[in-house]
Symmetry: C2
């Protein structure tokens, strides 16, 4: 079912500083920041040869990563995103296996304009897993 | 400098249960467990289309992930590993940029039998970053 690792998301308290670290210390290809107000984050994409890292800074008051940064003020790895071919089939299979999908259980349109869902971290080794229909 | 994402390492309290989740719920290709006593872990490799996930369970009393699991009993994402062409050049560049290398600052031979180093999480957004000479 899961295919590629689409991205690893890292929550950061200071997007400009984090971008500079990846650009200058790790000498990676780093995008300009992109505001995604509908998803409550500003994002910088670090393009690696086989996948990407998304550096996320909270945007607005209801940002989904605000609580994470309260608990982890230096930042930290927030989630991994795996690609699937068919998000509805993935959702049915996972629920049949007893995995819990966050929210109302229905896939939503994610920040990449593609259908996504998030799995409960307690069902996956304390790891927040996003699935995205590729 | 950094090229491919070599792997994402996830510390887990129960390697057998974690393997079953990835095999059955996420329908991924999952290896048998491999004991790495010199590195204090048992590892299962989850082969994705473009990279891999390493599920790590502590092995022995001095396991480098034992403390992490004390703080995160359900498990959690432990580190990301980026590939570099020349670990000595990477080390010199990073130290010139003010980044701290864990231990004595010298690359060591890692679990894949290749030279690796770890960067201080406080310098990289609360993220433990491993660099591996590809």
């Amino acid at each position: 079912m899961i295919g590629r690792l689409n991205h690893v998301a890292i929550a950061v308290p200071d997007l400009e500083a984090a971008s500079a670290q990846y650009r200058e210390a790790l000498m990676a290809k780093v995008s300009d920041p992109v505001d995604e107000p509908d998803h409550g984050v500003s994002v910088v994409f670090v393009e690696l040869d086989n996948t990407k890292i998304e550096l996320l800074q909270p945007m607005g008051e209801d940002s989904p990563i605000a609580k994470f940064l309260e608990k982890n003020p230096n930042g930290g790895i927030h989630h991994v995103c795996y690609e699937v071919d068919d998000i509805q089939a993935a959702s049915r299979h996972l629920q049949a296996q007893g995995a819990r999908i966050l929210g109302d259980g229905e896939p939503k349109i994610g920040a990449h304009k593609k259908p996504v869902l998030f799995l409960h971290p307690k069902d996956f080794n304390g790891t927040l897993v996003e699935l995205e229909q590729a």
